[in-house]
């Protein structure tokens, strides 16, 4: 019985010492607020969970990890504010590209879509070495599909991409619908009326001391081409990234094209940037972009010869208006690729050339008002003939590329096949040297044009901006301001004597007259 008591006592002692050890272990450390008991518990639970190899050798590291794990949890009491980055915003907008409308499932298959076969074009462009990357091309084509659906366009194709300094433009070309022409003309006429009013107010200035009037007569304004013809044949839409809304570019005017030929500027990527240049560009970046697009299209849009044939020709119009219509030739067979790559005469331009004036059809600006009286004054007509400007003529539509002029000692086009190893299935690729970035490919019956670049023409060695005209002399010369030498003393005296003689002679004559009268 004593042993039982002793046993109880010793076990109680053991329990007590264990409890005191546990209490000691549960004491929180003053530095880190952890206690040994909890730490060892966690450590052993971790070892039980993970069963690492050679655990006794790595136990210190495991202990360190456990301690570190605790500290990190306690420090993150602040919650992160989620900030939407630009990438996320764009991704949200691009998600809409991939949504499919539920109504028009089956109808699409039957009706001819205005959208071209997108994956095929992307494939051929990649073969030619041009392209924007596969995913980007896919996104662009989906954005084109969105454009077609939202604007109900007849025909649409990807024109290309113009790279700018801050961001780029993706350009799509489409054909005008019929109703749009009237809307555009109305807005143009309203703008012109406003301009005339302001001019009338300006001319009523001060009439006291006439200030020298400027004798500068600005060149007569060349009228715009009607929408649907010439340089305004197609309408262009731009967007910054596929998925963002498309913006329509205004139609181009001939003065914008002539000025764009003289300046050399990068695009910034914002459509409302002013274009600071000399000669001053009439418009902002949207107009400059449209003018460059018109020039590039006129210079580099080509197709295999025979793909298009001339539209209906009216019998008498051989000399006058150049053809501006063409239609797809149903009998086109397709020229073999090696021939397309070798000779430039197998390619033709299918966009009208822009004349010096800035339009595709020439307009005679020297026609003076009051032409009705011409029938009477034939002599006047003969005098006017040498002043009349000669009509400008450009190469007619569908001229082959072999007639393109060379500039700065470089041939205007370089051509090759896309692959030399498998030339049976290659495509012929044409690259423009005058507009770096313009490409065309043809393979059998399929062809396409694209432009990816900075939007500038090759300018040879250096570009020098045009010099401003010389300033006007202050006053038009007249008798009031011409200098004359002051008469010298002898001349004055001679004049005085002459005058006195005259006066004396006059007096004598009057005297004799009076005497005669008296006599009578």
């Amino acid at each position: 019985m004593e042993t039982a008591d002793e046993n109880q006592d010793s076990s109680q002692l053991k329990v007590q010492s264990a409890a005191s050890l546990k209490a000691f272990m549960l004491k929180n450390s003053t530095k880190s607020n952890l206690n040994l008991y909890d730490h060892l518990t966690r450590l052993l639970i971790k070892v039980m969970d993970e069963h690492p190899q050679n655990v006794v050798d790595v136990i210190e590291d495991i202990s360190h990890d456990v301690k570190r794990g605790l500290v990190e949890d306690k420090q993150s009491t602040l919650r992160d504010l989620p900030q939407t980055t630009a990438a996320e915003l764009l991704a949200e907008q691009q998600r809409l590209l991939f949504s499919r409308p539920e109504d028009a499932d089956q109808e699409d298959e039957l009706v001819e879509t205005p959208l071209p076969n997108v994956s095929e074009i992307g494939f051929y462009l990649e073969q030619a070495g041009v392209g924007l990357g596969r995913e980007e091309m896919q996104r662009i084509f989906l954005a084109l599909k969105q454009l077609v659906e939202s604007q109900a366009l007849l025909r649409c194709r990807l024109w290309g991409k113009i790279v700018g300094t801050e961001s780029s433009y993706i350009v799509a070309e489409a054909e005008y619908r019929e109703g749009e022409e009237e809307e555009e003309q109305i807005t143009d006429e309203a703008a012109e009326e406003e301009e005339i009013e302001t001019e009338a107010q300006d001319s009523e200035k001060n009439e006291m001391d006439p200030l020298p009037q400027s004798t500068y007569k600005p060149a007569p304004v060349v009228p715009k081409e009607a929408i649907g013809t010439g340089a305004n044949k197609c309408v262009y839409y731009v967007c910054k990234e596929p998925g963002l809304p498309w913006v329509k570019l205004p139609p181009v005017s001939p003065v914008q094209i002539t000025v764009a030929r003289h300046i050399r500027k990068f695009f910034t990527g914002r459509l409302d940037t002013p274009v600071n240049s000399y000669p001053p560009f009439p418009g902002n970046e949207a107009n400059y972009l449209r003018a460059q697009i018109a020039r590039i299209s006129a210079g580099t849009q080509v197709s295999p010869q025979g793909f298009f044939q001339a539209g209906e020709e009216e019998g008498d119009e051989e000399d006058e208006a150049p053809r501006d219509s063409y239609e797809v030739n149903p009998d086109f067979e397709g020229t073999p690729v090696t021939e397309m790559a070798e000779s430039l005469s197998n390619w033709v331009h299918h966009v009208q050339h822009i004349l010096q004036q800035g339009r595709c059809t020439w307009v005679n600006l020297a026609v003076k008002p009051g032409e009705d009286s011409n029938e009477e004054g034939e002599a006047e007509e003969k005098e006017e003939e040498p002043d009349e400007p000669e009509p400008e003529v450009g190469p007619p539509l569908l001229t082959p590329l072999s007639q393109d002029a060379e500039m700065f000692n470089t041939p205007p086009w370089s051509s090759k096949t896309s692959s030399t190893l498998t030339s049976q299935h290659a495509a012929a690729v044409l690259r423009s040297n005058l507009w770096p970035g313009a490409y065309a490919y043809a393979c059998g019956k399929k062809f396409e044009n694209i432009y990816v670049g900075w939007g500038l023409k090759y300018a040879g060695e250096g570009y020098s901006p045009p010099v401003p005209p010389p300033p006007q002399k202050e006053y038009p010369s007249g008798p009031e301001i011409t200098e004359a030498l002051d008469p010298s003393l002898e001349e004055e005296q001679a004049l005085k004597e002459a005058l006195e003689e005259q006066q004396a002679a006059q007096e004598e004559m009057e005297d004799t007259d009076e005497e005669e009268e008296d006599d009578d």
Binding site: A87, G131, G133, V163, S167, F266, P411, N433, P436
Partner: protein, 277 residues
């Protein structure tokens, strides 16, 4: 761009409009590996393409121990057979700048000629001497590649470190610039011998780390605005384009060590830059 990263990095620079044909890509992957073995390079880069009127040159660059000084350039027409370009010496640079005008033709043996008539002596005793400078297209190519590297090659800050011995090497613990850092032109450096470093004030030098900041910063370039920084590919890639040599594109994916540059263009410097900005 590094030959090992060719298969994905070409998509990232395609925003400038140029890609490689799948056939050329496959040929490059094979031939660059062989090139590395033959010439014993540490790294082989696909440098780019110079477009000529008749043929295009594909350019590759091999790097040795020291990334900055130990470079060799090679060219090829079909991405398979490579020819070594001579290193560009000062006299070669002089001759090329005098004689070579216009675009590259595409034939390495084409000779550019430049005729200069110099007069020596005075008055009636003047003797006219015709000095003809002849340069062939291969030297012009070597000089052009060298000039582009000197003037517009770009690396992100921290991608290369300079060891105390002076060797410039790839920084293996480069994690990439963050998204906000990649939007600033200050964080990109020219990969060529620095010219402006000594002009920095002591205050500015205090912030810099000498092992990383031993190169010129892009934002010090004159004229300002000669670099175009954009985020492309749904804002994931930071793309830098040079406006001085049109065709040089640099890409960097933020928060990853992926970066590289490539030049695809006609090999002419854009001297009209001040008019165009």
């Amino acid at each position: 761009m590094d030959a090992d990263s060719l298969y994905y990095s070409l998509e990232l620079v395609a925003g400038s409009g140029y890609t490689l044909n799948i056939e050329q890509r496959a040929a490059l992957q094979t031939s660059l590996v062989i090139l590395r073995k033959n010439y014993k390079f540490q790294r082989v880069l696909y440098w780019g393409k110079i477009l000529g009127l008749k043929e295009d040159y594909f350019i590759a660059q091999g790097r040795g121990e020291d990334e900055m000084n130990d470079k060799k350039n090679l060219y090829s027409f079909n991405c398979m057979d490579w020819f070594l370009l001579p290193p560009a010496t000062d006299s070669m640079i002089d001759e090329v700048s005098r004689a070579a005008k216009g675009r590259f033709i595409g034939d390495p043996s084409y000779v550019y000629e430049h005729l200069e008539i110099r007069r020596q002596g005075e008055g009636d005793e003047a003797e006219e001497e015709e000095v003809v400078t002849k340069v062939n297209e291969e030297s012009r190519l070597a000089v052009t590649v060298h000039q582009i590297d000197e003037e517009v090659s770009v690396v992100p800050r921290g991608a290369f470190i300079k060891s105390p011995h002076g060797l410039v090497q790839v920084n293996r613990s480069f994690g990439g610039l963050s998204h906000s850092e990649a939007g600033k032109l200050d964080n990109f450096l020219h990969f060529s011998k620095p010219k402006n470093l000594k002009k920095k004030s002591i205050l500015e030098m205090g912030d810099l780390n000498p092992s990383i900041d031993f190169l010129d910063v892009l934002s010090d370039d004159i004229p300002k605005g000669s670099w175009s920084l954009q985020f492309e590919c749904a804002s994931r890639v930071c793309v830098l384009r040079s406006l001085l040599w049109l065709g040089l594109t640099f890409y960097h994916v933020p928060m990853t060590p992926q970066h590289g540059y490539i030049y695809i263009g006609d090999g002419t410097k854009n001297l009209d830059l001040p008019f165009m900005l």
